[in-house]
């Protein structure tokens, strides 16, 4: 039921855009007003979420480590698994952000007769997550050609590599296929793997279905439903949006408005959903802190500055008489303490 709901939600969105954009006069709403609103929600919401996280104190030093921490000289430190300074943290973050290193360590546990539990390396999630994220990045970068004039050479080169198979005209993009493949795996994983299915919620399925629909409408528009899809009219609109002089020119097919509306929904939904892992990966204390709690004291920002540290020696000085009276052993006897004083 959970996964059916995401489909219903996306179908409703498609109907809203498909029918709504055909009402005369509504093209301005779907082509100009909603995109502006969506991008403002995206940037504003993104900044708000990051600021909100930045205001949350980190009371303890909590990096997750899975290697030997910095210790005595003759004990070899695992610099990536247990970084002890900012450079090592940056190296670990780089590998995490660009290569999803923690997913590479994913394991699959199974219970066999005995009972006996086994752990096995499982790299599928890592592989398809990588395929999905990088394809999506290339797709987003390719779309920049609608917003920039003149189009920078790097974007043309990227597009050339992406369409290198030269299948059909307009040429098929590799990333179109890879994006769908990645999404199908990520969605299928939530249906087939029992324990992942158990913890999956609507807000796990919905973004997958939404991005899948964005990809499918984009592919349909590019290769099949080309009626009233004149790339020049579309670029005029997109370019007008980023120069604050938007124009709705000649008629554009409904499939374009559906595609655009779904993208607007994705942008508006982004800051308030799990998709914020895009910003959150930088803000995660288990990843961005150095494991140096022995060499550098981590001060809890909640600490009341009025409450001074109270050492055991100070404590004994304060209560020595009572401790001796009560028969509690003390490190310095009463007489010795008085001698010093």
């Amino acid at each position: 039921m959970k996964y059916a709901f995401s489909f219903l939600a996306v179908i409703a969105l498609i109907l809203i855009a498909g029918l709504g954009s055909q009402i005369p006069g509504m093209q301005y709403l779907f082509g100009v007003v909603l995109p502006y609103l969506a991008i403002m929600l995206f940037v504003g919401g993104f900044v708000y979420r990051i600021m909100d996280w930045a205001k949350s104190p980190v009371p303890f030093s909590i990096p997750t480590t899975c290697g030997q921490g910095a210790s005595l000289d003759f004990i070899k430190q695992d610099k990536l698994e247990s970084p002890a300074n900012t450079t090592e943290v940056a190296a670990r973050m780089f590998l995490e952000i660009f290569f999803f290193r923690s997913l590479f360590r994913n394991t699959k546990s199974e219970i066999h007769d005995g009972p006996k539990i086994t752990y096995e390396s499982s790299k599928w999630l890592w592989l398809f997550a990588l395929i999905f994220h990088y394809s999506f990045l290339v797709v987003v970068l390719r779309h920049m050609r609608f917003f920039l004039e003149p189009v920078p050479f790097v974007l043309s080169a990227l597009e050339g590599v992406d369409s290198m198979l030269q299948i059909g005209q307009p040429a098929m993009y590799l990333t179109d296929a890879f994006l769908l493949l990645g999404l199908l795996f990520l969605y299928g994983r939530r249906l087939i793997t029992r324990h992942v299915k158990y913890i999956s919620l609507n807000n796990d399925y919905f973004p997958l279905v939404l991005i899948f629909s964005i990809a499918v409408t984009g592919i349909l528009m590019r290769y099949l439903l080309r009626t009233d899809i004149d790339i020049i009219t579309i670029k005029n609109l997109a370019y007008g949006l980023v120069t604050f002089s938007p124009v709705i020119g000649a008629k554009i097919g409904a499939i374009f408005y559906i595609h655009l509306f779904l993208v607007c929904v994705l942008l508006a939904y982004f800051p308030f959903s799990k998709l914020m892992h895009m910003g959150g990966v930088f803000m995660s204390p288990t990843r961005n802190m150095a494991n140096n709690s022995r060499s550098k004291r981590h001060i809890n920002p909640w600490n009341d500055p009025e409450i001074k540290p109270h050492s055991y020696a100070g404590y004994e000085d304060e209560f020595r008489e009572f401790m001796v009276d009560a028969g509690i052993p003390v490190e310095k006897e009463l007489a010795a303490a008085e001698d010093k004083a």
């Binding site: 900044v47 990051i50 930045a54 609608f146 920039l148 005209q169 020049i232 007008g240 120069t243 803000m283």
Partner: protein
């Protein structure tokens, strides 16, 4: 707020990246392309103008397959004049200037079709004949 020194520059970079098209274009007005009509004054194409705008690439691709793969070298007739199927044989008989016709829109929308990997513009074809 904690770690201002890294979070604020990070957010500034993020906002600049997202809004980069605005700064890149610098509020210049768009310069939509104006492809040149056939110098010979022909008014009628093989298909209506609207269809050609949206679908010329598919039509050319179909023609390529017809001619090269299926050996269907049929003639196309427009207003009594017949042409042999093909980019150079038919289209460029009227739209003779690639730079002022094809390239105007293709450059604007950054479309880089591989037609010209094999095909020649009439001008190029003429210069090739000279050398042979």
């Amino acid at each position: 707020m904690y770690n201002k020194g890294t979070i604020i520059p990070g957010l500034v970079i993020f906002v600049l990246l997202v809004t980069s098209p605005i700064w890149f274009n610098g509020f210049k007005a768009a310069t939509p392309p104006k492809p040149e009509l056939p110098p010979g004054g022909e008014k009628k194409c093989v298909m209506p103008k609207e269809y050609m705008r949206d679908n010329h690439m598919k039509l050319l691709n179909d023609w390529r397959d017809n001619v090269l793969r299926d050996e269907e070298r049929v003639l196309v007739t427009v207003e009594g004049k017949t042409y042999r199927k093909g980019l150079q044989m038919a289209c460029m008989q009227c739209h003779s200037n690639k730079e002022k016709f094809c390239d105007t829109c293709h450059t604007y929308a950054d479309v880089n079709p591989y037609c010209w990997d094999c095909h020649l513009t009439p001008k190029e074809a003429a210069s090739k004949e000279d050398t042979h």
